[in-house]
């Protein structure tokens, strides 16, 4: 057999809790040559992880390989006993999980866990394994390769832990490594280092790989070939460049089109207008106030901005930069330690409970995860109806009519009215989440990463919807995100935050090459592009990376 991995007409089925049989993977075939990296890409539920896991002969609880063959290096893993498979895992096929933080045992040192596979398979003495691990740490560009293994998982950063998880996968010298969204949980500046390390090691050792991801731009940097999956079927398979530049299948085209949301022209905000919302020297944080009257853990430090009526302000930055805390302060969930928020020129009280209904109504917040932002015990119509009754006193038939209108506005079928949030899809939930904010009839909507948890295509549709509603209702958005493409499409001005401070304010046009502050430059240049050569050609000032990247 020429190919290292040969998957033929794979079928994976599952039995649901109610006893119904569903087919998750419906006849997928592909092959991987030695030293080739194949990416599986698709939205959540497309079966990409399920497919990748079958290379280890593994399926999640309740699932089973119901048809087809999976050959890895001549072994038919799909027909082996569990014992035979266990013997191959780690030696022939290994796995790098999405969240390394969850995959490491917090009570053992990293080295013990990294060399565990070598010990299980009796691949030489502990000292040999240790030497090999240190070699891998060095190859993965980890700092202090000699001693990093003596630390515990919580003593290293997220990006380092992800690389350590790769070291764990590589220690048994496998021929195929499965990467399951390994950089999805990382910040963009960290992601670059991790991707570089993966790429270097995989090429250096000539190992074949399966890279599972929903992010085309990331996949473009590392994969030789791409398989586009949807509903358990291959939509299109091809060379990375061909998929990116000449996609043949309509679904692939949508996927690539969704990558950069379209910016809709609308009447430019009248600059003469008084600002609808203004923040003046806001400082806020958590913990008891210190001697200077500021909280011990200061999350937002002296941030000011103005938002003009009908315009949008983007706030970008990496995790921990204080952007979500800023939204909490504006919404009145966290009182500012210093500074004030002004609505139409009038200062708002710090706490929501001190604000009047009218003040509350005008500023609405929409959270990132619609799963947790909707009360699981209440139906869609209850969720949408409450702000109507609360702010406007609407009841009975008028309330029902308004709920229908809101559902139409966010393009939700009215039939979903009596469903509980658990019975909706991710995109539908986010629409309900947004419709609830609209129900208040607000002037300003704070959008806290509202598209981040959605699949690219769904996120693009939601972004489109936001722009449409803005045109119709004259809303202003504060759009908090780490996704530069979305921010670029929606916002009129962009605030870059780092370490609680506003480092720079830019116009969307300036995002490409117009940033002055070194952190803004680093952040903007770190966003992967849909270009296979992007990572290799990327040059960043090492000093700045060291100064700002969350390593």
């Amino acid at each position: 057999m020429k190919n290292l991995v040969e998957v033929m007409n794979l079928h994976v089925g599952a039995v649901t809790d109610s006893g119904r049989k569903v087919e998750i993977i419906r006849g997928i075939s592909f092959s991987i040559a030695p030293d080739e990296i194949v990416a599986l890409i698709g939205e959540s539920g497309s079966g990409k992880t399920t497919t990748a896991l079958t290379l280890m002969g593994y399926t999640r609880d309740g699932c089973a390989i119901t048809g087809g063959h999976v050959f890895v290096d001549g072994y038919e893993v799909s027909a082996q006993t569990e014992h035979e498979r266990a013997n191959l895992r780690g030696k022939l096929v290994s796995y790098v999980p999405q969240s390394a933080a969850a995959a490491f045992n917090p009570s053992q040192t990293i080295l013990t866990q990294v060399i565990e596979i070598a010990q299980i398979h009796k691949l030489g003495s502990r000292d040999e394994a240790r030497r090999k691990a240190i070699e891998l740490f060095r190859a993965l560009a980890l700092p202090n390769p000699e001693t990093i293994g003596d630390r515990y998982p919580h003593q290293v950063s997220g990006g380092q832990l992800q690389r350590l998880a790769a070291a764990m996968a590589l220690i048994g010298e496998p021929k195929v490594v499965i990467f399951d969204e390994p950089t999805t949980a990382l910040d963009v500046t960290t992601q670059i280092e991790v991707l570089r390390a993966f790429k270097k090691v995989m090429q250096g050792k000539r190992i074949a790989g399966v890279y599972v991801s929903h992010d085309l731009a990331v996949v473009a940097q590392i994969a030789d070939r791409i398989l586009v999956l949807r509903n358990g079927e291959v939509q299109e398979a091809g060379d990375t460049r061909q998929i990116l530049h000449a996609p043949a299948h309509p679904y692939t085209k949508t996927l690539i089109a969704a990558y950069e949301p379209v910016r809709h022209d609308r009447a430019a905000a009248d600059s003469a207008d008084a600002p609808v919302l203004e923040a003046r020297n806001l400082s806020a944080g958590y913990g008891a106030p210190g001697q200077d009257g500021l909280p011990v853990m200061l999350a937002v430090n002296d941030v000011s901005f103005t938002l003009k009526r009908g315009s949008n302000l983007g706030v970008i930055g990496e995790s921990g930069c204080g952007k979500s805390t800023l939204a909490r302060v504006i919404a009145g969930l966290l009182p500012p330690a210093r500074g004030e928020v002004l609505f139409n020129g009038k200062a708002l009280p710090g706490l929501a409970s001190k604000r009047s209904k009218e003040e509350l109504r005008h500023v609405q917040i929409v959270f990132q995860l619609a799963d947790t932002a909707l009360n699981p015990a209440r139906s869609v119509s209850d969720i949408l109806g409450r702000p109507l009754t609360f702010y406007h006193g609407t009841r009975g038939a008028a309330r029902n009519r308004r709920i229908d209108e809101l559902m139409d506005m966010v393009r939700l079928p009215r039939a979903l009215k009596n469903r509980l949030p658990g019975e909706l899809s991710g995109g539908q939930k986010q629409r309900v989440n947004f419709a609830r904010a609209l129900a208040a009839d607000p002037s300003v909507v704070l959008c806290d990463e509202i598209t981040s948890a959605l699949d690219t295509v769904v996120a693009a549709a939601v972004t489109e919807l936001l722009q449409e509603l803005q045109r119709e209702l004259g809303l202003s958005y504060i759009f908090i995100s780490h996704d530069l493409n979305t921010v670029r499409a929606i916002c009129d001005e962009v605030v870059v935050m780092y370490g609680g401070r506003k480092v720079e304010q830019l116009l969307p046009g300036q995002l490409d090459g117009g940033a002055r502050h070194p952190y803004s430059q680093l952040l903007i240049s770190s966003v992967p592009q849909l270009d296979p050569g992007w990572l290799d050609n990327l040059k960043q000032n090492a000093k700045i990376v060291e100064q700002f990247a969350h390593e």
Binding site: S18, A377, R378, R386, F390, G422
Partner: protein, 284 residues
């Protein structure tokens, strides 16, 4: 499409309300005792305190199904009447305990800060006195009557309900939908009633059942010590006390009320351990 959704919802419904065999047995016994508590006196073959047999500690016979007690009264009648006291007092006490405890727990978790700290420590202090000891002291001091028993049991067991509900509510309180409600400007009563309570109801129901069992046992214990329901009336614990001298004779008069207590408590446990998923875990 619609058909698909309809069938899926039907499947969910079937799944959600399904109860397994153990839970069903528990439910049957609980329903049986509830029936007895309500209609017992109508079913009783003899007046409750009438001496119907010259023999005492009589065995089971066609005339006296469960034998007779130490005075020669019909045991079946005594148990049927006793069910009303045991089940009634316990149910009233557990409802009161859970209402007070769960409400205060949710308020403490939602308000937070010093209010929560003070209330939690105060209730911890009350909760660390042994239950039986505390109830003995209170009942001995105030004197035993049914309202006193109910209030004492409720006060003692509301501590546990408070801590349990507070722990659950603290988690729910940090959820985004509660934050949204706060940002909307909702007040405390709405927050606890609509946002928090529906999401802790499952575990609270299970806790309700467990607490009921504890209260039945404590009430029976108090009656056994002579501080519970006073003669000539008797709950099941009191029946055991009255007839304890029959233990050496193996009289059904002492065994049957014990079995009644055991069957009620065990079946409540069996029921709450196997509640339908719909009730037990509403978030799924």
């Amino acid at each position: 499409m619609t058909e698909d959704i309809a069938s899926r919802r039907a499947a969910r419904g079937r799944l959600g309300w399904r109860i397994n065999a153990v839970g069903l047995i528990g439910l049957a016994v609980v329903v049986f005792w509830a029936f007895v508590a309500i209609f017992g006196p109508m079913l009783a073959p003899y007046p409750v305190s009438e001496i119907v047999d010259f023999d005492y500690f009589g065995g089971m016979s066609a005339q006296f199904w469960l034998g007779t007690d130490y005075l020669g009264r019909d045991m079946l009648t005594r148990i049927l009447y006793g069910a009303r006291y045991t089940v009634g007092i316990s149910l009233a006490a557990v409802m009161l305990a859970c209402f007070i405890g769960v409400t205060m727990g949710m308020v403490a978790a939602t308000v937070g800060g010093w209010f929560d700290a003070v209330l939690s420590r105060a209730i911890d202090a009350l909760g660390c006195v042994p239950n039986l000891l505390l109830s003995l002291v209170i009942v001995a001091a105030v004197g035993s009557s049914i309202p006193v028993l109910i209030l004492t049991l409720a006060a003692i067991y509301s501590c546990g309900a408070f801590r349990f509900a507070r722990a659950l509510a603290v988690n729910v309180n940090t959820a985004d939908y509660v934050k949204v409600a706060r940002a909307r400007g909702e007040r405390l009563p709405y927050l606890i009633r609509e946002e928090i309570f529906p999401n802790i109801i499952g575990p609270v129901m299970a806790d309700f059942g467990l607490r009921f069992v504890f209260i039945v046992l404590l009430l029976s214990g108090l009656s056994f010590l002579g501080l519970g329901v006073q003669p000539p009336n008797a709950d099941w614990g009191g029946l055991v006390r009255e007839n304890i001298s029959g233990l050496a004779l193996g009289a059904p008069a002492v065994l049957m009320p014990s079995i009644a207590i055991a069957s009620l408590t065990i079946s409540v446990n069996m029921l709450i351990d196997n509640l339908p998923t719909r009730i037990r875990d509403r978030s799924e």
